[in-house]
Amino acid sequence: MKTVVCVKQVRTLGDEVQFTDGGMDVDPDYVDLALNEWDSYAMEEALRLREAHGGEVLVLTCGGKESEAALRRCLAMGADRAARVERAEDHDAIQVAHALAGVVREEGADLVLCGVQSSDSVQAATGTALAELLGLPRVAVVTRLEVGQGTARVHRELEGGLADVVDVDMPAVLTIQTGINKPRYANLRAIKQAEQVEIAVSQATDAPSASRVRRMFVPDRGESAEMLGTDPAEVAGRIAEIVKERTA
């Protein structure tokens, strides 16, 4: 059983944000980097598959050198190998999918796991585009996964609290929802060991982009917020009223 987990080193914001001159991106001084939360669940799911079925977990990303921190976090969690497709300049989800697809084709995999979406772009596009490029079936927003002989039974989340249970032939691309498991922590020893692992680096081939950034800005603040005071009984009463008004 070979699983490839595609992860992203996302940018996280604090309380304050400034844009670069020209307003095309967030000023890096206001940004921290972290492993995308959804991807940590995908990583944990892959480790559980390996524990149940044996095999190997390859963790893969597309980005600059700094994105190796996300790979090393996954290595510390227990990934066997890590690979990075170098792509320093701006790139969109489709270009990332092209870059990842090249490695997945070379490696081959029984399952490719992605997070549902990244917390910084929130497009939920990479996994689906990757499946298309690889010509594989894909199931999005997976909340439960059971792997059988050549197929996987997958629960996918629908709107309105509904779940759909489907059997999908492997290999397949699944995008994993948070809450599917509880991602394990890496202890300090594993973190240190992960620092020593060599990461395979390849170059992305040219691929067309499907979108471009025209402007970044903080949305205007609306005027509709209602402050509910400080007295708990009063606040509770008002909340009850609002719920009644809006559900009437």
Partner: protein, 720 residues
């Protein structure tokens, strides 16, 4: 970040007499245990607040004469030229930060026991103190009154010489000027007693004389309690205080308005258990409404929006803080820089005050472990040096108060990686449930502040729901391991009164429980009648009793001590706690120690009954608040089962334990323990605290010769 414009008014200068405060933040007079005898501790403690943005900082109560000696409690003193020298250091250091210095001139009257000086104070009438044991004053005649007023004038001049910008004629907390104003203390029938004009005479004349002496150079502050909550006998706002404001407003440069007398001054220094921020505002606003002078006042202010409201609504001009300035000396600066989530808010536990009430020790703070350590340990609340062993990874096991503080400070000291782990799914340890006890909600600030800080520190990671065995810890990969696994309430009745367990005590039984079980695990006791056995003596026994009574149980609170929760006398929580328990119908049984627990009954004997007569309380359930024990299983297993040598072979170079895991203690001391280890993590032996700088007189050859010569001359009667 920049200041929120809505807080701008807090940073507007204000004129008080001949002086200008550069903003509206004022550190009210409050004790710290340093006085004039520990001038460096005093100066550095106050100067940190000036550095943190306070525009004026005061001494604690500052005695004007050996007749007003509060020993065993520690006041400042301005008795002679040497006191001037010692307090001038504080003034100089405040001025370096463009901060005004204030001296709260104090004369205690019958509240001054004079245990060091062996003098006798003078007062309006000869009735012993309602605060101090066996302390009477001389009933002052007219000559005594002139003498007392001269003491104020001379002390004011000394204050000016020392460099003080603001001089108080302090009456609040039932001290001499307010004793004259108040029928409770003043039973005189001459022109200093009786009518309002007569009762006000001493204070008015004293303010006039001090103003005359130093008023061109110093602002004159008057601190007045506007309600003593003593009914007709006490000072009253309408009858006494507002007329007094009108009487002397022209003489006063700034009013410092508060509440209470000394016997229940928890009505002023309000515990969060009973009062919210800004409790005194109605009284302060009443003075503000009729005075032409700036009004300042305390309110345990930590919320800048509430401060702004108090000013904009015309209730105060200046925001005075005592405890919040100790909890976070940088409160003004953090507001100015828009760093509101970095404010270390006072939790209102009053453990700072407990040290003054105990008499002697320096203050401590639950939130700010550096309080009182500014000079003697060189700890700055906001500055952290990079540890010399910062290339180490640290594992802190247990995210209670000690573990959180240790991990946070280690993070600020730049350790490569700090992993803070806890078996529970969030940080806090016992402080996750202690704030759920009645009235203790604000205590959650202890956890919240540290959670926010830890979240900001890139080198500190919290790992929840992770229960580590000793083997796990050994293999974890940390060079430094800190065990902070806290403590638990004894399940067998072990206690410090009998130094033994109590027969029949067993919290595994359905009808018995410990606070951990009730609050942490949700254990419920069946039946209506519950007996809480308390030999802890602080907040736990009474809080559990209050909570169970609020749930409708019929509660008996039994203690072998002479008082329930005696430590709450020191935190000023006792009077209202007693009132609350009484109003809830909790039966208080003091001086009784259970001899055994039986299903349906607690059998106990009076601790002073030599014959051991037994009394039986029929109860359905028992809560054991007898004592705590360290949760040291992990530490012992690491040290004894695995051993330091094996740990070393695994790469663990150092193993420490902190907080309750070493020995149960006050929350403030648990936080201190974690802070201390982190501050000294790169010392030669971090398990042992480094010595601190002691302010004491050191004997050397020169002083021996001069002191012996002086003594010989005194004995011989030849001293000049």
């Amino acid at each position: 970040m920049a200041r929120d414009p809505k807080h701008d008014i807090l940073f507007e200068p204000i004129q008080i007499g001949p002086k200008t405060m550069r903003n509206r933040f004022y550190q009210i007079p409050h004790c710290n245990g340093f006085g004039s005898e520990k001038p460096f501790s005093q100066a550095f403690f106050r100067a940190v607040k000036a550095e943190g943005g306070y525009a004026a900082v005061s001494t604690e109560y500052c005695s004007i004469s050996p007749e007003s000696d509060d020993t065993h409690r520690m006041s400042a003193r301005l008795w002679d030229d040497d006191d001037i020298k010692n307090l001038s250091l504080m003034c100089d250091m405040l001025h370096e930060h463009d901060c005004l210095s204030a001296a709260e001139l104090w004369y205690g009257g019958p509240h001054a026991p004079c245990m060091e000086t062996r003098c006798v104070a003078r007062g309006p009438s000869q009735i012993p103190s309602d605060f101090e044991y066996l302390t009477y004053a001389i009933e002052a005649d007219k000559d005594d009154i002139r003498y007392l007023q001269r003491l104020y004038v001379e002390a004011a001049k000394r204050a000016r010489t020392a460099g003080f910008d603001i001089v108080y004629v302090y009456g609040s907390h039932s001290y001499l000027p307010q004793q004259f104003l108040t029928p409770f203390y003043n039973k005189r029938t001459d022109e200093y007693g009786g009518s309002f004009e007569n009762r006000a005479r001493f204070w008015r004349e004293t303010i006039e004389q001090v103003k005359e002496a130093v008023g061109d150079d110093c602002a004159i502050a008057v601190r007045m309690s506007t309600d003593m909550f003593l009914g007709e006998a006490g000072t009253q706002l309408e009858r006494d205080c507002l007329p007094f404001v009108e009487l002397v407003d022209e003489l006063v440069d700034v009013w410092d308005i508060n509440l209470s007398g000394i016997a229940e001054w928890g009505e002023d220094a309000t515990p969060s258990r009973f009062y919210e921020q800004g409790r005194a505002l109605p009284w302060q606003a009443a003075v503000k409404a009729i005075s032409k002078k700036p009004v300042l006042g305390v309110g345990r202010w930590t919320d800048p929006n509430a401060m702004v409201d108090a000013i904009n609504e015309g209730k105060l001009d200046i925001i005075a803080t005592c405890r919040p300035s100790t909890s976070d000396p940088f409160l003004p600066k953090k507001i100015e820089e828009g760093r509101l989530d970095d404010i270390r808010e006072c939790i209102g536990c009053n453990v700072c005050i407990s040290r003054w009430e105990i008499g002697g020790p320096p203050l401590i703070c639950t939130q700010n472990a550096t309080a009182g350590e500014e000079y003697r340990r060189g700890w700055h609340p906001e500055k952290f040096t990079t540890a010399r062993n910062a290339d180490n990874d640290v594992l802190v096991v247990g995210a209670g108060p000690a573990g959180m503080e240790c991990a946070m400070v280690l993070g600020k000291r730049g350790m490569r990686r700090v992993h803070l782990v806890d078996a529970a799914d969030d940080m806090g340890g016992t402080m996750r449930w202690i704030p759920q006890l009645p009235g203790l909600g604000e205590w959650a600030r202890l956890v919240n502040y540290r959670k926010i800080q830890i979240d900001k520190l890139k080198n500190v990671e919290f790992l929840a729901s992770m229960k580590l065995s000793a083997t796990d810890v050994a293999a974890y990969g940390a060079e430094i391991v800190v065990v902070a696994t806290g403590s638990y309430w004894a399940t067998d009745g072990l206690n410090g009164a009998s130094h033994d367990v109590i027969p029949g005590a067993d919290a595994s039984l359905a009808w018995q429980a410990t606070p951990d079980q009730i609050m942490g695990e949700g254990k419920q006791l069946d039946g209506e009648r519950v007996l809480v056995f308390d030999n802890d003596g602080y907040f736990m026994g009474v809080s559990i009793s209050e909570m169970l009574a609020l749930e409708g149980k019929k509660v008996t609170l039994m203690t072998p001590m002479g008082n329930v929760a005696p430590y709450m006398h020191f935190t000023l929580e006792a009077p209202n706690m007693h009132r609350r328990l009484h109003s809830l119908g909790v039966e208080i049984v003091t001086y009784y120690l259970p001899s055994r627990f039986e299903p349906g009954a607690v059998v106990a004997t009076h601790v002073y009954d030599e014959h051991g007569h037994e009394r039986t309380w029929d109860v359905d359930g028992v809560v054991l608040v007898s004592q705590r024990r360290s949760n040291e299983a992990l530490f012992r297993s690491l040290k004894d089962d695995i051993g330091l040598d094996t740990l070393k072979a695994e790469g663990v170079d150092a193993l420490y334990r902190i907080g309750d895991c070493e020995a149960p203690r006050l929350l403030a001391d648990a936080v201190f323990s974690g802070h201390r280890l982190a501050r000294e993590i790169d010392s030669p032996d971090p398990s042992v605290p480094l010595p601190f700088r002691r302010e004491r007189r050191v004997v050397d050859a020169g002083t021996v010769a001069s002191e012996r010569a002086w003594h010989e001359a005194v004995v011989a009667g030849t001293a000049s």
